[in-house]
């Protein structure tokens, strides 16, 4: 398409250039919007284009790479799939964090070593020194102030025991032992 403005090989833009800075200042060599999603990308640019890096960066070790929004260009469902797999394949065990409301620090357990819910819950009870109630599909855990819950790969908080064991260990990202009224709310027909 022929535009109304002719261009030679070299667009002589200097004269009419729109600049981001105040008149009289040097134009920035990297143009980016105010809401650039990633600081790190700009820092990498500095390596290629040779602009000055922050004083701070010269002494500190390189910060870990933050993720760029939408890069690499992979659909979310693929990313989720990979995440689940990573959790499973790390060291052959399925290590998940266990937190308990009121406890000062978290524990970690390997779900692979248990063959089912009774064993798992027994182990958690022993580890954290408390008792979980009786499980029923309708009413969740009765007879205790605690309810074992887990975050699944969709990010939802679920009651431990509702799904088949195999499905549980592949979808569980971490465990949380809920206490008190929050715990009583779960499984009571909610």
């Amino acid at each position: 398409m022929e535009g109304s403005v002719g261009y030679d090989n070299d667009l002589n833009l200097r004269a009419t250039e729109l600049r981001l800075g105040l008149p009289g200042t040097e134009p920035v060599s990297i143009v980016r919007s105010n809401k650039r999603s990633l600081q790190q990308v700009a820092d990498d640019d500095c390596g290629v284009n040779g602009c000055k890096s922050d004083d701070q960066n010269e002494t500190a070790p390189p910060p870990p790479k933050a993720q760029i929004v939408g890069w690499p260009p992979i659909r979310s469902y693929r990313k989720n799939n990979i995440q689940t797999k990573k959790n499973e394949s790390e060291g052959g065990g399925i290590y998940v964090k266990v937190s308990m409301d009121g406890a000062p620090y978290l524990r970690k357990i390997d779900l692979k070593i248990y063959s089912g819910y009774p064993e798992l819950l027994q182990a958690i009870e022993n580890m954290l020194k408390f008792t979980i109630g009786e499980y029923s599909e309708r009413e969740g855990y009765k007879g205790s102030d605690y309810a074992p819950t887990y975050e699944d790969k969709d990010g939802d908080w679920m009651l431990v025991g509702d799904v088949p064991w195999e499905m549980f260990i592949t979808s569980c990202k971490r465990l949380r032992i809920m206490k008190g009224s929050e715990a009583r709310g779960l499984g009571c027909g909610v």
Binding site: E2, G3, Y7, L13, V31, G70, P73, Y77, S89, T170
Partner: protein, 585 residues
């Protein structure tokens, strides 16, 4: 004398002739011949494809084509796939369904891509179209299994229900039971995207068993390996099958049952699914491998040796989707075994890891380009590339029509010379004269765009990220690529000059997306003012663009041609640059 005969040609005859013309382009050409042809043609057009649902209004479509039976609509821009388009942006199908419910009572087919579909829309479809046959929801969202239940229950002649890659609120597997016992018409059922681990398996089995014309069945993860044999035995006529979980403890009787079930499917040509694969179960597929033309293993975390073994049994393979676990060695095997290969997609198993976790490099792609003479379409994620490799690929495979390369780290140079990859991609566009789609990555200067503008004459879609030095790059593309329909750009230093100079070009394209570039708000307003046939939309989730100086760059910009004028369903973070609407605000 002869002129008179042409004018008295009966309409019915012309209609009959036109009915043999199926392609949209040809139909459009027919309608331009003369007024009477336009009139006849529009009354007998049965299929309409609308590449951008905001380019035209439902009413306009209905007015021009009163007897449509099949409609295909696309909504959100492609970069929505990578979370660059905020939720609530638009692409709602309900207004279309609502209008068509009244105007097209005999509508049979609805195909949607990247649109927001609600249960209300699905219920309206179920209620309004008595002869409804085909529903394809490709990468759609906004609906639940309740909506699907309505479709299942009401559509007595349903042939296709395909939910590929959609996000569905999976409330329960019981929706399948809503297919009445009298429903025997299913030809294609794709529920692979349903994420819940429940499915009403007995309902599924019965449904499959009573549909003798079922050709394509794609299950979801809820269906365990032991159930596959039962399903396959009920549908030995399947041509395309998607497994659920393909993992279980190895048990000889389960294995032989499965192998037997697969071997009874004499027509089976295409396989997919394979979440969680236990390699020991792969040999159950060997009996059908010689017939396989399409294999999607892109969820299967199986290692190269197992992949090599499987692929070497599939000499007729035309299409392979796989994770980079295949490695260069696996691709070399592919190149020697699969001479019919037309399409290859290699996805990254660890896209966010800093270091490569597998031995997959540019060598694998070079090997396939050399060994597979029919290779046309490539999507390849890798961590290093060289100009030499790209030149070799281009020279080996001038018949490429789609080339999408994603080097995972932005701005990665040629790993051998540390130069930009301009020359390599330049060779691709120069040699592959029929190239229609191209995605760039790696370190690229304005030069690559010069090549693209010079040689990419058939290029219809171009995706650019972290590339270029100046407006010259964008100018080359907009002024040189004659067939360009879709251009999507992110994180490039392209600003106002090239855009404004090539404003007229934008009316010949479907759409332009630019995010994290350097286009100023002032330029957007100017474009909106000067080009009434374009919708210029600025997306900014943090603050209105006019709360900053005009010279400030906008965050995201989406420009598309439209005869419907600015849209009125924009969320608060989308601003139209249409002068009239803007001033009213």
């Amino acid at each position: 004398m002869q002129k008179k005969m042409a004018y008295s040609f009966p309409d019915e005859v012309l209609e009959q002739v036109f009915s043999f013309i199926q392609s949209d382009k040809d139909r459009n050409a027919v309608s331009l011949v003369c007024k009477s042809w336009d009139e006849i043609e529009r009354w007998c057009r049965r299929k309409v494809f609308i590449g951008n649902c905001y380019a035209v209004s439902p009413r306009m479509v209905i007015r021009r084509f009163p007897e449509v039976r099949s409609i295909k609509l696309k909504g959100k821009p492609h970069f929505a796939d990578f979370n660059l388009v905020p939720d609530g942006w638009g692409g709602y199908v309900l207004p279309w369904i609502a209008e068509m419910a009244g105007a097209y009572p005999w509508l049979e087919e609805i195909r949607l891509k990247r649109m927001v579909v609600t249960d209300e829309s699905l219920e309206l479809i179920a209620k309004s179209f008595k002869n409804f046959k085909v529903l394809v929801l490709f990468s759609c969202e906004g609906f639940s299994t309740d909506g699907l239940a309505a479709i299942a229950a009401s559509c007595k002649n349903l042939r296709e229900l395909d939910l590929r890659e959609s996000e569905v609120d999976d409330l329960s597997g019981h929706w399948l039971a809503h297919f009445p016992e009298t429903c025997t018409s299913l030809v294609s059922l794709n529920i692979s995207c349903l994420r819940s681990d429940e499915v009403s398996f007995s309902a599924l089995e019965r449904l499959v068993g009573r549909c003798p014309n079922l050709r394509s069945l794609r299950l979801n993860r809820a269906v365990t390996l032991d159930k596959i044999a039962n399903i396959l035995r009920r549908a030995p006529q399947l041509v395309d099958f998607g497994t659920g979980y393909y993992a279980a403890e190895l048990q000889p009787d389960v294995f032989s049952n499965l192998a037997g079930a697969f071997s009874s499917c004499k027509e089976l040509k295409s396989l997919s699914g394979f979440w969680d694969v236990v390699p020991a179960y792969l040999p159950a597929l060997y009996s059908i491998c010689p017939r396989l033309t399409s294999l999607n293993l892109s969820y299967a975390t199986i290692q190269s040796p197992d992949l090599i073994k499987l692929v070497s049994h599939c000499p007729r393979l035309q299409r392979l989707l796989v994770l980079d676990y295949v490695e260069d060695s696996g691709l070399e095997e592919l190149a020697s075994s699969c001479k019919d290969l037309q399409e290859l997609r290699v996805f990254p198993s660890d896209p966010f890891g800093a270091e490569p976790n597998v031995s997959l490099t540019e060598q694998g792609l070079v090997a396939v380009s050399l060994g597979c003479p029919k290779l046309r379409s490539v999507l390849y994620f890798c961590r290093r590339m060289s100009n030499a490799a790209l030149v070799t690929i281009a020279q080996n495979r001038p018949n490429l029509t789609r080339f999408r390369l994603c080097i995972i780290e932005p701005k990665t140079p040629d790993y051998l010379t540390l130069e930009p990859l301009d020359v390599g991609f330049g060779a691709i566009v120069e040699h592959c004269k029929d190239l229609r789609r191209l995605s760039l990555s790696g370190l690229l200067t304005d030069h690559v765009f010069e090549y693209i503008g010079t040689y990419g004459k058939k290029l219809e879609m171009l995706s650019v990220a972290f590339a270029g030095d100046s407006d010259l790059g964008l100018h080359h593309v907009l002024s040189g690529c004659e067939s360009l329909r879709k251009l999507e750009i992110r994180d490039c230093p392209f600003g106002d000059k090239a855009l404004l100079a090539n404003a007229a070009k934008l009316e010949t394209m479907r759409s332009l997306w630019m995010s994290s570039c350097a286009v100023s708000f002032g330029a957007c307003k100017l474009l909106g003012q000067k080009m009434p046939k374009l919708n210029v939309e600025v997306i900014d989730e943090t603050e209105p663009p006019d709360s900053r100086p005009e010279s400030c760059p906008v965050d995201k910009l989406y420009i598309y041609r439209s005869v419907a004028g600015p849209r009125f369903d924009m969320p608060p973070f989308v601003w139209t640059m249409d002068e009239a609407v803007r001033i009213l605000h």
